[in-house]
């Protein structure tokens, strides 16, 4: 199998539109959680969320018109516009502009979404109910399908290689990057745009996650305090939305064109819990096997890991189960590892989470710094692992592992290594 590297990054995150702006704010300990004001949340138990800051595009704000024609935006849900922005940023960052037939046919797209256009499906259902089938837009279906993020991005940039999409709930972004890396490693493409996108911070999305008791409800007046992984006061996750896309490229291809190389993708593991639709298996065995599989694929030992970007959603059950699985994996090496949950700052971006956290893991390697876990005032458990409370920590990071676990018991782990 061929070696595979990451050569470009792009994001519309709740902290900012743009990778460097997002990273700077993350390291500074900023929280993106805010009261929800763009729809009526007054009767919902959770009234907070993390949404990209809209503006004219300057100062890290997100201006959808910079990334997609307004007349096209009208036809699609926001998750597609987010994906267009993140993908275009990533291609520019990688200086990859496939214009010949050969370059286009060897460049593919694998951008997933946990849910797809749930907001638009809700609106369309109301139109159907109130006005009948003749009033349903011809763009109702193509503007909501989860794989249409990949579709729109491929059309915009003329990418004619493999066109695929992942739908594995909160593991989507990690699975997309791992699967894309395999497509490149096997030689089915030279370059893949891979990642995740989500826009479910709307009335039906928040109400739905409230119904399964997944969201934080005790911090509506202090939203920036709500996402607090590992802390005694945690009571559920804070939902976020946005997109993150990376350029995954064959090492030989990247070297031949003199591309900037961020990191190598060395490990990818997958597992299933076969336990419960929303709860992780109590023994953490699914998480453990997933990380162990990634290590095996990387040909590495647990002692090689420097930094872990945890799934750590800030739910009462999940955080500790993951932590115990990681302690089991690391053994005595645990005391030498730093692990943070960046969901404490950006919230849980569902299908985009794994991709955004992959970017954070890659930048942690690039800059030798572990981003912080915000709001970790009183850890609910003792551990020898450094959970990077409150402030970022400068340290040696050559190898980073990123975990993502999704509803349905679907798990994915990625391992990135400093390229040398």
């Amino acid at each position: 199998m061929r070696r595979v590297v990451v050569t470009g990054l792009g994001t519309v995150s709740p902290l900012a539109c743009g990778v460097e702006e997002t990273w700077t704010r993350l390291l500074a300990g900023q929280s993106a959680a805010r009261p929800l004001v763009h729809f009526d949340a007054s009767d919902l138990p959770c009234r907070i969320g993390c949404v990209p800051p809209k503006g004219d595009g300057s100062g890290g704000t997100y201006n959808p018109d910079d990334w997609m024609e307004p007349k096209e935006q009208r036809k699609v849900d926001e998750f597609i516009v987010y994906a267009m922005s993140a993908a275009t940023q990533a291609l520019r960052d990688a200086s990859w502009k496939p214009e010949t037939y050969e370059k286009q046919t060897t460049t593919g797209v694998m951008i997933g979404s946990g849910i797809g256009g749930i907001g638009g499906i809700y609106d369309g259902s109301i139109t159907l109910h109130e006005k009948g089938p003749r009033r349903l837009s011809p763009f109702f279906i193509p503007g909501r399908l989860a794989n249409l993020a990949s579709g729109y991005v491929s059309i915009e940039h003329g990418l004619k290689g493999p066109n695929h999409s992942v739908v594995t709930a909160c593991s989507t972004g990690a699975h997309a990057i791992g699967d894309a890396a395999r497509i490149v490693a096997l030689g089915d493409a030279e370059v893949m745009l891979a990642g995740g996108t989500e826009s479910a911070v709307n009335r039906v999305g928040i109400a739905g996650f409230c119904a399964c008791r997944a969201l934080s409800t005790s911090y509506n007046d202090t939203p920036e305090k709500a996402s607090r992984p590992y802390d005694k006061g945690r009571d559920g996750f804070v939902m976020g939305e946005g997109a993150a896309v990376v350029v995954v490229e064959a090492l030989d291809h990247a070297l031949a064109r003199g591309a900037k190389i961020y990191a190598e993708i060395v490990g990818y593991g997958m597992s299933g819990d076969a336990f419960h639709i929303t709860s992780p298996s109590e023994d953490g065995d699914g998480a453990y096997r997933c990380m162990a599989a990634a290590l095996k694929r990387a040909g590495m030992a647990a002692a090689d890991i420097d930094y872990i970007n945890a799934h750590g959603t800030s739910t009462p059950l999940g955080d500790e189960i993951e932590l115990r699985a990681i302690e089991r994996l690391l053994g005595a090496h645990g005391s030498k590892v730093s692990m943070s949950s960046t969901k404490s700052a950006v919230g849980h971006l569902l299908g985009a989470a794994g991709a955004l956290e992959a970017i954070f893991s890659i930048l942690a390697i690039r800059d030798g710094v572990a981003p912080p876990t915000l709001n970790l005032d009183n850890p609910s458990v003792e551990t020898s692992i450094d959970l990077v409370p409150h402030v970022a920590r400068k340290r040696k990071i050559d190898v980073a592992l990123s975990n993502s676990f999704g509803f349905g018991g679907t798990n994915a782990s990625l391992i990135f290594r400093r390229y040398q």
Partner: protein
């Protein structure tokens, strides 16, 4: 320009994102204004809504230019 023509023009500009001066009677939605087959379906829906009229599929197929739309709607509009 008639009132109907003005309203048609506004809808076409909004839905297809084209310059207003390109929306002339002879302009073909697909060949001249960049619409695709789904855009034309949506345009017909927008005309139905604006003019409170039902445009059956066989009639919709005959509306290929801005002028066709204006002519049909001047004859059939109820709003």
């Amino acid at each position: 320009m008639s009132d109907v023509a003005e309203r048609v023009k506004k809808i076409v500009v909004e839905h297809l994102g084209v310059e207003a001066d390109k929306v002339v009677a002879s302009a073909n939605f697909i060949d001249d204004l960049g619409a695709d087959s789904l855009d034309t379906v949506e345009l017909v829906m927008a005309f139905e809504e604006e003019f409170n009229v039902e445009i059956p599929d066989d009639a919709a197929e005959t509306i290929v230019t801005v002028g066709d739309a204006v002519k049909f709607l001047e004859k059939n509009a109820t709003a």
